[in-house]
């Protein structure tokens, strides 16, 4: 691979310095997609004409900005006024959004070129991208394996160099888990840092948009662009703009790294344990102190998550009524049938399962036993983190218990699939940022990763800590060989 295409920062600089034209950069990525995406299926839709038109405008100096001419792919649950926004659901197969997601608008305002939309588990519900009405996405490292999910298309596209960077969304690990399984960086920012306007809602108190990139430096640059307060999202944090790139290469002095035994389970695959132990050594060699921290409510994260997320989803997805937009059944017998048949035909199995679980948890009679109790335990999980951050700057842990699993292995067992999120959901429940960083390869040549957490709103610090690891290692530059 040419050095100009190694990272987002390299591409951006090459275009800015006119070493590579934006048209050539766009052509390079479109050709890679043309050649390889039939085996991977990262994309639901490509915007070839729009891409070439914008690239020509960049070369003519009509479009400028921090990301001028940089091709970026976005998850197909981010609204754009061009093309379709499907959530990989039959429900929205023909949906053309009437507005633009704020995060995507911010990318375009800085000159980025949206190359296409990537596949996901329907409505971002899943951990393997097998629950897609558009067909599954495959892992570029081994096409018999899943890329993870729900942002599997964005992770696979980044891994296969189908774009300089991609955007995903993370509700319970949907950026970090597929980033881990595909060997790329994935960041879930602090809740509220990135506007959710135009992100099709799954669980509103947990959803957050974030980048997939080759390097931490690339992620910092994207964060500088996509973060910020937005009047269109009342949950977006009203903070002064933060610069994530400015001090990125300045190591944190007297860094204290927290290790929680609850994440270092014996059931982790050896390659995962090894990656975390190796990272501990890397940080120690840079002078970091290792602190043992206790997160006693970790194991309750999955049950809390699958109540809170499904309860919110059951409410958010009530809007798909077969009337205003989305799929409508043919020849309904009455209004009730119009709703119930349209929804039954439009939603896939997992979406239905989660809507029903959430509705059940909110039913009178069960509300206190499930939903209210889950919200109380959510606070206990948050308090665990608050206490831990009195002793450390970051928590280092695995993202997943193992490497990418085989397609079809967990599709018949929803609970086994849910347990994939065991090391990621708590960051969403607590609102804190988390980043997945490549940590090498397993014996069978599959990516393993490490995950770093920081306290809420400390995204810039988290990126600096992750950058320290990438300064000392080059795992993030490992790429799959595409067949």
């Amino acid at each position: 691979m040419q050095p100009e295409f190694q990272t987002l920062v390299a591409i951006k600089n090459a275009i800015a310095d006119k070493k590579v034209s934006a048209v050539d950069a766009a052509t390079y990525y479109l050709n890679r997609i043309e050649q390889h995406d039939q085996n991977i299926h990262a994309f639901n839709e490509l915007y070839r004409d729009y891409v070439m038109q914008r690239a020509a405008q960049v070369d003519a100096g009509q479009i400028t900005g921090k990301l001028a001419g940089v091709p970026i792919a976005i998850k197909d649950n981010l609204c754009t006024p061009y093309g379709h926004t499907t959530c990989s659901s039959k429900m929205l197969a023909n949906f053309k959004a009437p507005y633009m997601a704020t995060a995507v608008q911010k990318l375009e305002d800085e000159g980025a070129i949206i190359i296409g939309k990537t596949n996901l588990d329907e409505f971002a519900m899943g951990s393997s991208t097998e629950n897609s009405a558009m067909g599954m996405t495959k892992n570029p490292w081994d096409t018999t394996r899943v890329p993870g999910g729900s942002s599997g298309g964005s992770a696979a596209a980044m891994s296969a160099d189908f774009a300089a960077a991609t955007l995903g969304s993370d509700t319970g690990g949907s950026i970090r888990q597929p980033a881990a399984l595909c060997g790329v960086c994935g960041l879930k920012p602090t809740y509220g840092k990135v506007s959710r306007f135009g992100l099709i809602a799954f669980a509103s108190s947990l959803d957050q948009i974030g980048p997939f990139t080759r390097t931490v430096e690339d992620a910092a640059l994207l964060m500088d662009v996509i973060c910020g307060h937005d009047a269109k999202d009342s949950t977006s944090a009203n903070l002064p703009p933060a610069d994530h790139s400015l001090q990125l290469h300045k190591p944190i002095e007297n860094l204290r790294i927290g290790i929680a035994k609850q994440y270092m389970s014996d059931s982790n695959e050896p390659a995962v344990t090894k990656a975390v132990e190796n990272a501990i050594d890397v940080y120690k060699s840079m002078g970091a102190t290792i602190v043992e921290v206790d997160l006693p409510h970790t194991e309750y994260g999955i049950p809390v998550y699958y109540i809170v997320a499904t309860a919110e989803a059951s409410s958010n997805l009530a809007r798909y009524d077969g009337v205003h937009y989305g799929h409508r059944t043919k020849n309904p017998s009455d209004l009730y049938d119009l709703y119930a048949a349209s929804r039954a035909e439009g939603f896939g199995d997992e979406v239905k399962r989660r809507i029903m679980l959430g509705t059940y948890a909110l039913c009178s009679g069960y509300y206190d036993a499930y939903y209210n109790r889950a919200l109380k335990v959510r606070r206990l999980i948050k308090q665990d983190f608050d206490k831990a951050y009195e002793q450390c700057d970051t928590i280092l842990c695995p993202t997943t218990t193992g490497v990418a699993f085989k397609a079809g292995d967990k599709t018949d067992d929803p609970l086994a699939m849910y347990l994939n999120d065991v090391y990621t959901v708590n960051a969403n429940l607590a609102g804190i940022p988390g980043i997945t960083v490549p940590g090498g390869l397993s014996e069978e040549g599959l990516p393993v990763s490490i995950q770093l957490y920081a306290n809420a709103y400390e995204d810039a610090k988290l990126l600096r800590i992750a950058q320290m690891f990438q300064t000392a290692t080059d795992y993030h530059m490992l790429r799959p060989e595409l067949g």
């Binding site: 009437p98 049950p303 119930a340 809507i355 849910y418 809420a456």
Partner: protein, 102 residues
């Protein structure tokens, strides 16, 4: 452990959720949701007396804006994705009278 959820519960929840299910689906969801709820029952191990429920992880307060009129979405845009419309209206099957259901 007995399944915490019955066929009848699943039918009731499906009706509240406006999801038309076949008998096979009801049976399948009863099994699957039963297993998930069994796992979720783990939460009853904890003593949560006196813990304040937390719907949002970070401090959130109500956000108000100045009461100044702004343009809404134009009707043609709002109707553009409708399965059936008769501008400026969405079109639905006959709701009143026989067969109004629900």
């Amino acid at each position: 452990m007995a399944n915490p959820i019955t066929d009848a519960d699943v039918r009731h929840v499906a009706q509240l959720s406006r999801l038309k299910l076949s008998d096979e689906q009801v049976a399948e969801y009863t099994q699957q949701l039963g297993r998930v709820l069994g796992y979720i029952d783990k939460l009853s191990e904890l003593d949560v007396d006196g813990v304040e429920p937390m719907a949002h992880a970070l401090d959130m307060s109500n956000v108000l804006r100045e009461d100044e009129p702004v343009d809404g979405m134009p009707v043609d845009k709002a109707l553009a994705n409708a399965p059936a419309s008769d501008p400026p209206y969405f079109k639905v099957p006959k709701v009143l009278g026989e067969g109004s259901g629900a």
